[in-house]
């Protein structure tokens, strides 16, 4: 690794130094192609983000691909219903590695305002891992851009080797997840327990609150 200060000094002299990892990550983060895939209200804001005013093309991400085979990034923009969930998981499985997921909006994170619904999936992270969560209902286009930049930072920090290397460089890591089936009352399974664990939260004034202490 070249020292950061030395690198800056050298670049002033016209000598550019880089590492394979930097170059590799730079290439990946600068041409993230999202999947052309809108679910609900958030999709309209996602479209607005790609339009002239917010101009997502500045981040190299205006190329929305209709096919999952050509996409690097899935923006889950809207409510995932139970009827739609198997298709979303299947699309995710069809995307080639390296692939990233942004859960856009309250519905994709947790079911949002529709959480009480019998046909609403309470968060897409029950079936596959999510990299960036954007709260909001719907999030403003600026929020999506911010999520985008966060994702780019995340990609920049990924290491090519070592135990912390990303999933696509690890032959043992799973990149496909089970597709739920339609059951008689609910999806089967209702969540992928290898990916998702029920969160432990403190509900004030309850027994779990005391036991947590």
């Amino acid at each position: 690794m070249v020292d950061e200060e030395l690198k800056n000094e050298m670049s002033k002299q016209g000598i550019v130094t880089t590492t394979l990892q930097e170059l590799y990550n730079w290439g990946r983060r600068s041409s993230l192609w999202p999947l052309n895939f809108g679910l609900a209200c958030c999709a309209i804001e996602m479209i607005a983000t790609t339009m002239a005013r917010y101009d997502m093309a500045r981040f190299g991400a205006e190329v929305f691909r209709p096919s999952p085979r050509q996409a690097d990034l899935m923006i889950v923009a809207g409510t995932v219903t139970k009827k739609m969930a198997p298709q979303v998981v299947r699309l995710y499985n069809q995307m080639p590695e390296p692939k990233y997921v942004i859960a856009m909006g309250a519905c994709a994170i947790s079911g949002g305002p529709f959480k009480q619904g019998y046909n609403v999936l309470k968060g897409i992270d029950r079936y596959f891992p999510v990299d960036i969560y954007i709260p909001g209902c719907p999030p403003r286009p600026e929020a999506l851009l911010d999520a985008f930049m966060s994702l780019q930072k995340m990609i920049d920090a990924q290491q090519l080797t070592g135990p912390n290397r990303p999933r696509h460089l690890n032959a043992d890591a799973k990149s496909e997840f089970i597709v739920p089936k339609f059951g008689e009352h609910d999806l089967e399974p209702a969540q992928n327990s290898t990916v998702w664990k029920a969160p432990l939260v403190q509900i004030s004034g309850t027994e779990t609150d005391k036991s947590a202490k």
């Binding site: 079911g111 019998y118 309470k122 969540q191 939260v201 509900i203 309850t206």
Partner: protein, 218 residues
């Protein structure tokens, strides 16, 4: 457009039909007519085709679930108590049987009047859930009746393509019924109280127990 007049007009023109005037006490004053199953299609066709009515636009079709309800009322009864006639209060329980109701809202594009409201009820909520479909009269009822079939479980006789509309085909419940129990699949609420709090606590203790058993296993 007075609904009483329309009612007598239909009764004069569709022989044998039994119509019931249903009063709506709210300020909207949209009263309705309850149709009998046997003459529903004939009455609907008459409403659509009669030259002075021309209700050619069936706007809204929806279901309402009325589960069986128990009414308790206190009645004063005169009884012989110890050889003496006394007024005694008695609690009487009457059960109103449950029913599934379907409501149609009609307008007239040609005459620009409306709405009038038609309703039909099933005999009960479990087995006798059949009802004549009005799709042959108004196409707009097609998808809406499918939706009612899906969410309420009313079976429309004479519907051309009665399948579930919104839920998947293997789904067996009727979620818009009042006694439907949704899958228990969310863990906590940020501001839980009452029943939700109880459920949140139960989920939390289950999750903690699971964590503990996993730790033991390791």
């Amino acid at each position: 457009m007075n609904l009483e007049n329309i009612k007598s007009e239909i009764e004069a023109n569709v022989p044998g039909c039994q119509l019931e005037f249903v009063l709506n006490p709210s300020p909207s004053a949209q009263h309705s007519l309850r149709l009998d199953h046997a003459h529903a299609v004939a009455v609907a066709t008459y409403l659509r085709d009669a030259a002075d009515l021309r209700f050619d636009f069936c706007s809204n079709v929806t279901g309402i679930d009325w589960p069986a309800k128990e009414l308790t009322e206190k009645v004063k009864v005169k009884k012989l108590v110890d050889g003496e006639e006394k007024e005694v209060e008695e609690v009487r329980k009457t059960t109103i049987p449950g029913t599934l109701e379907v409501v149609y809202h009609l307008f007239s594009v040609e005459k620009k009047h409306g709405p009038i409201t038609l309703r039909m009820s099933t005999k009960d909520r479990e087995t006798e859930v059949h009802m004549p479909s009005l799709t042959p009269v108004w196409r707009s009822a097609e998808f809406q009746e499918r939706e009612i079939f899906d969410l309420f479980g009313v079976v429309f006789d004479g519907h051309p393509d009665l399948r579930r509309l919104l839920m998947w085909p293997d789904f067996i419940d009727h979620p818009m019924r009042r006694d439907y129990v949704a899958p228990d699949d969310f863990e906590y609420e940020p501001t839980a109280h009452d029943a939700v709090l109880q459920r949140a606590n139960q989920h939390q203790s289950e999750a903690i127990a699971k964590l503990a058993s996993e730790a033991e296993g390791k």
